[in-house]
Every structure is written in C-alpha cells, then in structure tokens.
C-alpha cells in the first residue's frame, strides 16, 4: 500500500504531509471527480499554502467570537465530570445511573503524543468492548487510511458506550430552535461524524470485533433555543457513511492518476507552481468554494477558459453538458454545427435563443410604440 508513497512525497516538494481532520476528510467526498484535489489531498499537500503562493489565498478564517462560543459551550457540557451530558443521556437514552465512568484520552500523563494517545485509545476501547467497562471516552485519537496513508484524527467528540455499543457524541454550538437547526450546519456535522464513526469502526475491527458495534446513530449535543442549555438529538449518518466509504475506496486508486502525470511533478513553491497545478485537471464547481482551499484558483482558471461549470452545475446540466460558454453560444446562434450527440442540445439551445430574442424584441417594440402602460395591460383581464 505504500508503493505510491515516494511519488506523493515528491509532490509535496519535501514538505511534511498535512494532517487530515474530519473536516478535510469529509470534504474529500464533496467533489470526487476532481483529479487535482484527489492528488493533492492524497499526497497531503498543504493546499492553503499552495493557494496563497499562487496569489489566491483561501478565505476560511474563523471569527474569534464563534471559536470562543464553541469552546465555552463544550467546556460547559463537559464540566464537573460531564454532569450536563450525563443528565442528557440519562433523560434521553435511559442511561443507567451506575454508568458514569469518564476517561480523558486527550493527554496521556501530560504527554500529547499521537502514538501514545492512539495506543491508549485502543487499549481502553478494547477493554470496553471485551468487558463493557467504561462509559464516556473523551477525545479519542483515531486513525484512518487515506489513499494509502494513515491519517490521525483528533475528533472533538466523546465515544460513548451503551450496552456494548459505541456511539459518537458530537458537541456543536449552533442552536437548535424549537427542534430545528440550520440544515447546512447539521449536514456538515453529519459528514464529520460519519468520518469518526468510520474510523471507530475500523479500530473496532482491528481489535477483532464486529464493526457494527459502532452505531451509525450519532448524538449531536447543541444549545437549545437561545439559551446555553444543552439538548441532544440523534442523527443517522448512514448516508454520509456510504458516500464516505465509496470516496475513500476511490481515493486509494490515486496511483492511476499519478501514472498519467509527469514523473518530476511537484507542488513545492516556485515559479513553476502554477503550471504544475494546472497539469492536474480540476473539476471546478461553485460548491468548491465551501470546502476547498484551491477554489479561488480553480474558479479563475475555469472562468478564463469559459467553462460553463463555473456558472453552476445546474447551468452545465441545462446546457446538456456542453463544457464551454463559447461552444454553447455558437450552438445557440447556429454558427456551429453540432456533432450528432449534441444535436438535441443544439436544437434546444437554438429554440431558447429564438424565444428569448422574440420576447425581448416584442417588449422593445411595445416600448418604442409607447404602448401599454401597466394599467392598460391590467385592463385586458377585465375584457372577459
């Protein structure tokens, strides 16, 4: 599985691989068709640095107000031996009173080394699976194989054992108002949690247990309404898990993309960086802006070559998959004869162009003739 590793090291230009977290792994599933992103992520290239070097810094800053709020809420829910969390689990899930054990896996004897932490996570979860010992495991350190590379994951979550099954508890500071939260935020949380569920399942199978002992049901803990009072909501992440597993499986076939690339390709800083990046084909869509550091560079590139995809996926679909603006307009005005497979699309575009021009011409004629004022037009219904 490490055959591609030397290639990937070279792609990074000697820089160490960037660490993945659940956000970056979840983002891998957003645009699976993008080879550029696939290669850069598989190699652990620091896309943020690359984008900055290219003059297209990504604007993924976070407000300190949001960070403070998130940290304060999490601290509050976990305070005093997770007192509030235990109350939620007891009231909501019927957690038995004796189940209160809390193990902090964030630090091992003052040491935050990842190998140590991961080893301890394995040990305690193995014990929990064998004997049922332990209830709350805070900040487990997990691993997941991404394109042949092991990535450590530092989930800001609690693994929770109930009746021999493990659940992921994710604490988020967005509000649930009258049982509803912002759908985008819930979706993002579900995608991230799916990564943790998957990593936990991998760990459980490594330990020789049935991966199904990690539940696909995640508990999202959020502030209720406008207060600081926490509320727990179950979240089924099966759809996100399915997408994630498929994407990760595809990512491991990155070597095929690599085979087609020049043998000396590197994304290290320098004058040749832009050309190097362009060597690997991107598949830009506006959705990239939400999750990929390269988005501004790719958008610029897509716009420069008149890609219809830069206007949105729906536009590209409306145009029957025609890739460039120039081609689409030439088909629409009849200056380009369509190939057979584009005949239908071309006919549709020509009709659209004719109808649009007709409607605009009619209005222009009306305006020139000084004809109907809105009142006059309104009157026509009365004529019935």
């Amino acid at each position: 599985m490490t055959e591609t590793a030397p290639d990937l090291d070279r792609l990074r230009g000697g820089a160490p691989p960037r660490n993945h977290d659940a956000r970056t792994i979840a983002a891998l599933t957003a645009n699976p068709g993008c080879a550029r992103r696939g290669v850069m992520d598989a190699a652990g290239v620091d896309k943020d640095a690359v984008a900055r070097e290219l003059g297209f810094p990504s604007p993924f800053g976070q407000s300190q107000f949001a960070i403070t709020r998130g940290n304060a809420f999490e601290a509050q829910v976990k305070a005093d031996g997770c007192a509030e969390l235990l109350t939620l689990l007891r009231d909501g899930l019927g957690l038995a009173v004796p189940e209160v054990a809390y193990d902090d896996l964030e630090v091992v004897a003052g040491n935050e080394g990842r190998e140590l932490r991961h080893a301890r996570t394995r040990r305690l979860l193995a014990r929990a699976l064998e004997s049922g010992e332990g209830t709350l495991f805070d900040h487990p350190l997990l691993r997941l194989e991404i394109a042949g590379q092991l990535a450590y994951l530092e989930p800001d979550v609690i693994a929770f054992q109930l009746a021999g099954r493990l659940h992921v508890i994710e604490i988020k500071s967005f509000a649930v108002v009258d049982g509803q939260a912002e759908p985008e935020q819930v979706a993002a949380a579900a995608r991230q949690s799916a990564v943790y569920v998957l990593a936990l399942r991998r760990l459980v199978s490594e330990l020789g247990h049935d991966p199904a002992r990690v539940s696909h049901e995640v508990f999202l803990v959020c502030p209720e309404n406008f207060s600081n009072r926490p509320v727990a909501a179950p979240l089924d992440v099966r759809p996100q898990l399915a997408v994630l597993e498929r994407q990760l499986a595809r990512l491991t076939r990155i070597d095929r993309i690599l085979d087609a690339l020049p043998g000396d390709l590197t994304f290290g800083p320098g004058a040749a960086l832009a050309d190097a990046v362009r060597t690997v084909e991107a598949r830009y869509a506006p959705e990239c802006m939400a999750g990929c550091e390269m988005a501004f560079f790719c958008r610029d590139e897509a716009r420069a070559c008149g890609a219809t995809g830069a206007l949105g996926r729906s536009v590209r679909d409306d145009l029957g998959g025609v890739d460039t603006i120039g081609t689409a307009l030439a088909l629409a005005d009849g200056s380009l004869d369509p190939s057979d497979d584009l005949a239908e699309t071309a006919a549709q575009l020509r009709t659209a162009a004719r109808l649009r021009d007709e409607a605009l011409a009619a209005v222009r004629a009306e305006t020139l003739a000084g004809a109907p004022t809105p009142e006059a037009r309104g009157a026509r219904d009365g004529a019935a």
Binding site: G44, Y102, V108, A109, N111, G113, G134, Q149, L150
Partner: protein, 311 residues
C-alpha cells in the same frame, strides 16, 4: 489637552485608521503575522490619537484602552487562528462586581482557593473553585491568577519542601499517576482523595454537592448560592423538588447521597489501589504534583505516516 502642532487632524486620523484596519485584516487573512502585529500596534496608536483629538481625554479612561496591546501579543503567539479570549464575556454579575476591587484583595489567591477547596472537599476545576468562592465568600478569585497557581506551588515546594502548611497541587490520574488536567487539590488531603479514576469525576461532583448543600442549609441561601446549587441539582436525579431554578438544600444533599451510594465503593477501590502504587513508586514531589512521561516527548514531533509501525 491642547493639541500639539505635530498632531494629525481628526480627518487624517480617520483616514489612517481606515487604512490601517484594512491593512491589518489583509495581513491577517494572508497569514502574515509579523506585519499584522506591527500594523495592529500602529492602529491602536492611531485610535488613541483619534480618541484624544475627537472625544477628548477623560479621567480614568486612559488605562483600559492601553490594555489592547496585551491581547494582541497573545494572539500572535497562538498560531494561524485567532485565539479565543480565555475568559467569557462579562455576564451581568461579573460586570457589576468588576469594580469592587476591595473585595478581591482581602486574601492571597492561594488562600482563597484553599478555602473553596476545603469547602468542596474534592478535586475541582478552577471554574468551579471560582464559583464556589464567589457564592460563599466575600469577593472573588481573579481567574487570571489561577492559571499559574499550580506551577508556582510546585516551584515553591521543590525549592523548600514542606515549608508551607499546605500546597495547592494536582489531582493524579489513577492509571499513570500523572497530573490530571485542570483539577486542583490540597496537599493535606489523603492520597486516596487526590487520585482520580474514571468514576471519580462523578463521585467528586456528588460529594461536592452534598457538602455545599449542607453548608448552604445553615443559612438562607443568597441568589449566588441558589444559582450554584441549581447547577448541581439540575444534574442529579431527584434533586429538584421545587420550582425550576430553586433548590432545597436538604433534598439536594439527600439525592446526591443516594447516587453517591451507587458509585462510592467501586470508586474507592480504584482510588485506594492507585494510592498504594503511588506510595510505593513516587517521591514526595511526584506524589503532590504527579509524575510525567517526559522521556516520551520526542516522539510527539514525528509525523502521521510513521504511526504505521505500531499497527
């Protein structure tokens, strides 16, 4: 204050402030921390000049504005992301009390903490220590002083062991006898109480609930005490007997004891066996402040890919 001839006009200052704000934000967005820091300093200076020029200097307001620089310094060390403010925004009570400096200075902070911990009778996080002190004692503990407290105590002990009647020290984790994150204890407590296992956070929470409820039951609880007790009562089964937000101390104590009965024995066994190990293996300082796996620090610097070996 008469404006000296060299000072820029308010209009020029406003233009400069706008310019500097834009420049700081661009530098921060581009990840250029060094220029961001320099620009920030220039910006604060321009803002102060504008204050003086437009609003006029007022008594007693010069000092607070100056504090900005400290915040900026901290943020710069924090890495790419801005560090969240360490403390919460002032709530109503805190804001109202901020001015009462007299209440704060009565005792050294270590004595304040000692009093609160003694009342609690169990290892506690600084935040809880602070709320207990604020509820039951005059004044409040300056939160900023708590961060360095444990380190200062350890240094003092290592310099002159047992020179003080008590030290504020760490709780030790039951498995590795290392300092537990963010928990304070008192050196004079039995080792069994200062060691925390998986069940201990809950038993300590319940123990504290019993002790605070009993203490509060001796007099009519103040609103601060009510709020503190509510935090306990709302998270202990059967502890809420009245209306939302009010606590009957005797009921709280009874409910906490009932749950405590469930956990006490298994928790005690774990703590006792760990305490045995601690007595056998740790020296005096380690017994108070925990043992650390310093030798392993080097491995933390290695990168993700090297982890494959331990599969």
């Amino acid at each position: 204050m008469p404006r000296s001839p060299g000072l820029p006009t308010p209009d020029a200052l406003e233009a400069r402030i706008a310019e500097l704000r834009a420049a700081v934000r661009r530098a921060a967005a581009a990840g250029d921390r060094r220029s961001a820091r320099d620009l920030r300093a220039d910006l604060r200076l321009a803002e102060r000049q504008w204050d003086d020029a437009v609003l006029g200097a007022e008594d007693g307001t010069g000092e607070p504005v100056r504090d900005d620089d400290d915040d900026d310094g901290e943020r710069d060390e924090g890495g790419d992301r801005p560090q969240p403010a360490r403390d919460e925004a002032p709530g109503r009570e805190r804001g109202a009390r901020a001015g009462t400096k007299a209440g704060r200075g009565l005792l050294p902070v270590r004595e304040q903490v000692h009093q609160a911990l003694t009342l609690l009778g169990a290892p506690a996080a600084p935040k809880l220590v602070g709320s207990v002190y604020a509820a039951f004692f005059p004044g409040e503990i300056a939160a900023s002083r708590l961060t360095s407290l444990r380190r200062d105590e350890e240094r003092s002990f290592r310099t002159a062991p047992y020179a003080r009647p008590y030290y504020l020290c760490a709780a030790l984790t039951a498995d590795l006898l290392a300092p537990a994150r963010g928990l304070l204890t008192v050196s004079t407590w039995p080792l069994e109480r200062r060691i925390v296992g998986p069940l201990s956070p809950r038993t300590d929470f319940l123990t504290a609930a019993v002790r605070l409820a009993e203490h509060a039951g001796r007099a009519a609880p103040t609103p601060d005490v009510q709020r503190l007790l509510w935090r306990f009562a709302s998270n202990i089964p059967g502890a809420v007997t009245g209306t939302v937000g009010t606590v009957e101390p005797a009921d709280l104590a009874a409910a906490a004891r009932a749950e405590l009965d469930v956990h006490r024995e298994p928790d005690r066994r774990g703590r006792a066996s760990a305490a045995g190990r601690a007595r056998a293996r740790l020296d005096d300082a380690e017994r108070l402040f925990g043992s650390r796996l310093r030798a392993l620090n080097t491995s933390t610097r290695r990168r993700a890919t090297t982890g494959e070996t331990d599969r």
